[in-house]
Symmetry: C2
Subunit: 425 residues, 2 copies
């Protein structure tokens, strides 16, 4: 019922661009029901390339096994996400190996819309293997992506010398990260078009970690789909109301250059480094700011998403352009200037963000922000961009980074194998 | 593109049953794209009556104005919900009247997928009327339902003698409700199939309340759709994995008898009383319980949802049936026995629940539960059921009521009017 996007990063040039634009645009694969007429009119509107926001097809299932990256990185962004990190509480490397094997088998089932075992065993004294709340629900485009934190590669596990070459704690001099929202030995990113499906997946893995004594929950963020596309809109908006992702990575060449690892030990190749940041937005303050100032903060127009030097969202920003008084039209502190590859030696990262809300804070303010996830083949690329932003970004008045983590995401396992199997070879 | 369900409670007998079964079953209106074939096979499977979980049509828009109840009570349950209560901070009755009129105008716009005003005004010193994050998104079946709390009808507003006859604080002797999750002078229930649309709506209303000095945020719960229907499944599941809503109100006669008010002042007629409870579930404890015991707690089989005395979900429970040893098959403390209309003098309430999760609590346990909303024409009906449950329900070992509120929900305004206009006449 749905197109199965090709998860292999080495795939087909321009058709891959279309796929990734769909990811940026819509957050869901376009099912057979959507029909050619809608797709054609969306394509005519510009960058949407066949994605429409009209219909979400819950029968979409993505493959877990493969020869490329894990699902959930270039997969079209789903509408809902649960991100959770865990402390490894097992002994040596053996418990980790068993955990990753069991998680892999479970994820393969979950992504097909199945349970992780019997819900209601016949035996009167038996506990259910699966908690049941997603029973009979559709796969809902579920992807579950597993990452390995720096803390796994120490003397504790005997894996210190197996560490993915560039994996280490982020070097950012962060001062605002809350201890209870920091780090983790394992990460799980579950994305789906049905929140109950995403939550069930993480709950199932958390339960397996706990019952085996191998993994304890550490911190979590539940994100929701700024990925929803609407009429004539292809780029999702953050809670500040601005399009976010216009200059994301769309080309296969860029994925190869900036996202997938190509050296290091065999088992790591085709993997990527995952950075997660929980970024609180002071949205009530933001809402009292003049829109002309907001535009200068981002360097874009709010409604169209066009750079201040252009008229269309996908116009290339002209960072050199000056106004009559000789000031740059896109201010020196504008977010898009500081984050641009043109001003960062060409560096790009693949972003996959979700909005989140934590309700009302202790001061009575709406508490929300961005669950920022980026994928890159060198954590230094994120550090370079973030260091620059943390020094000068006009946005800093309105945001605080409160959570952080870094993980290596091994490539997808082949059928019959499991995540990071080569680590234990 | 979508069927517009008739919101008028006095409507058409059996077709209304089909509509309400859709509500119980699916959480979304069945759009034209779903096709007759799928609908026919779903109907053949039993109670689904045309609802399928395959496709969510985001173009669905519900009317705000009407001659019956507000939308969001019998409207097919959407996949996502934001519930928020507010303290009234205005002066006298005049500020309340203005607030309700402004909220009504805004809600009418929002439910059509529009903004509440300009996002990016031309004037360089202007603040945006709308925060923009739902710009261009579909209506996504948004409903926004406004309730009035007991605290509005006091000397402070001069409206003490206008109080809806049965509106008063719940009389339950609650000991577990957290003060910060209790009460409120106004309630807003926003439900939509796109979380960003639901959140934007509540944010817009909160901002209007704050900017006018008339309403301050009090507490909130974000719920997600246990409403998703799957293959052959018509009743959503709670986070304990059990179907919840099998015996909900489905018949128009029951709505008239138990939900809509028919006496009291003119402006209140056709309204209803809204009870909200934030019910924490100790899901990790629950997950360690034997399923045979879980079945006894609910009085139902986990997978099928059938009562312990039956084999199909919609079999009538036989509360008199005994096993070989003379014990009741559905235990005396089973949830469905204690909540049943047969054992409560015929009383029924209309439930509209969502699951929620608050992530991980301070003990490292998964923190989740049920955002319970019920609608009834007499709050005493809820009190009767809840008092009985709180004394004897086997479920109490696994749940704690931590939030509570009660509100009167006036009927929908006619076009050109606003919510509770008659209160100020």
């Amino acid at each position: 019922m749905s197109e199965q996007p090709d998860e292999t990063p080495s795939a087909k040039g321009l058709s891959r661009r279309a796929l990734l634009l769909t990811a940026a645009a819509g957050g869901f694969a376009v099912g057979g029901l959507a029909g050619g007429g809608i797709a054609a009119s969306a394509a005519a509107a510009g960058h949407a390339d066949g994605a429409t926001g009209d219909v979400v097809d819950l029968s979409t299932a993505h493959p877990f096994y493969g020869t490329g990256a894990q699902a959930g990185i270039t997969t079209p962004v789903q509408r809902y996400s649960v991100f959770m990190t865990f402390d490894y509480t097992g002994v040596g490397a053996a418990d980790l190996q068993v955990l990753l094997a069991r998680w892999s088998a479970a994820i393969a089932q979950l992504m097909q819309g199945k349970t992780v075992g019997e819900v209601e065993p016949e035996r009167v004294d038996a506990i259910g293997k699966d908690t049941g709340e997603a029973l009979d629900l559709e796969p809902a485009a579920l992807t579950v992506t597993v990452g390995l934190g720096p803390g796994l590669f120490t003397d504790r596990t005997g894996l210190a010398d197996r560490k993915p070459p560039l994996l280490r704690d982020l070097q950012l001099g962060d001062t605002t990260i809350k201890p209870e929202l920091n780090g983790g030995d394992l990460s799980v990113q579950a994305c789906a078009d049905d929140p109950q499906v995403a939550y069930h997946a993480v709950r199932a893995l958390a339960r397996m970690g706990k019952d085996s004594g191998s993994a304890a929950t550490r911190w979590t963020v539940m994100g929701f789909g700024r990925a929803a596309a609407g009429k004539g809109q292809s780029t999702p908006r953050n809670l500040m109301g601005y399009k976010d992702g216009t200059r994301n990575i769309f080309e296969a060449d860029d994925l190869d250059a900036f996202v997938w690892t190509s050296d290091g030990p065999e088992w790591t190749r085709g993997g990527t480094y995952q950075v997660v940041r929980k970024i609180q937005m002071h949205i009530e303050n933001w809402d009292t700011d003049r829109v002309s100032d907001q535009n200068n903060v981002f360097g874009r127009h709010k409604v169209t998403g066009a750079p201040l030097t252009g008229t269309q969202e996908f116009d290339e920003p002209d960072f050199a352009q000056q106004d009559a008084s000789g000031s740059p039209v896109i201010p020196a502190t504008a977010h898009i200037r500081l984050a641009a590859h043109e001003t960062n030696g060409g560096v790009k990262i693949l972003r996959r963000g979700f909005n989140y809300t934590d309700g009302i804070n202790q001061f009575g303010f709406l508490d929300g922000g961005l669950l920022f996830l980026s994928y890159q083949n060198d954590p230094a690329h994120f550090e370079q961009l973030q260091s620059r932003l943390s020094r000068s970004d006009a946005l800093n008045e309105y945001i605080t980074h409160i959570g952080s983590g870094i993980f290596f995401v091994p490539p997808a396992p082949r059928e019959g194998s499991y995540i990071a199997a080569g680590l234990f070879a």
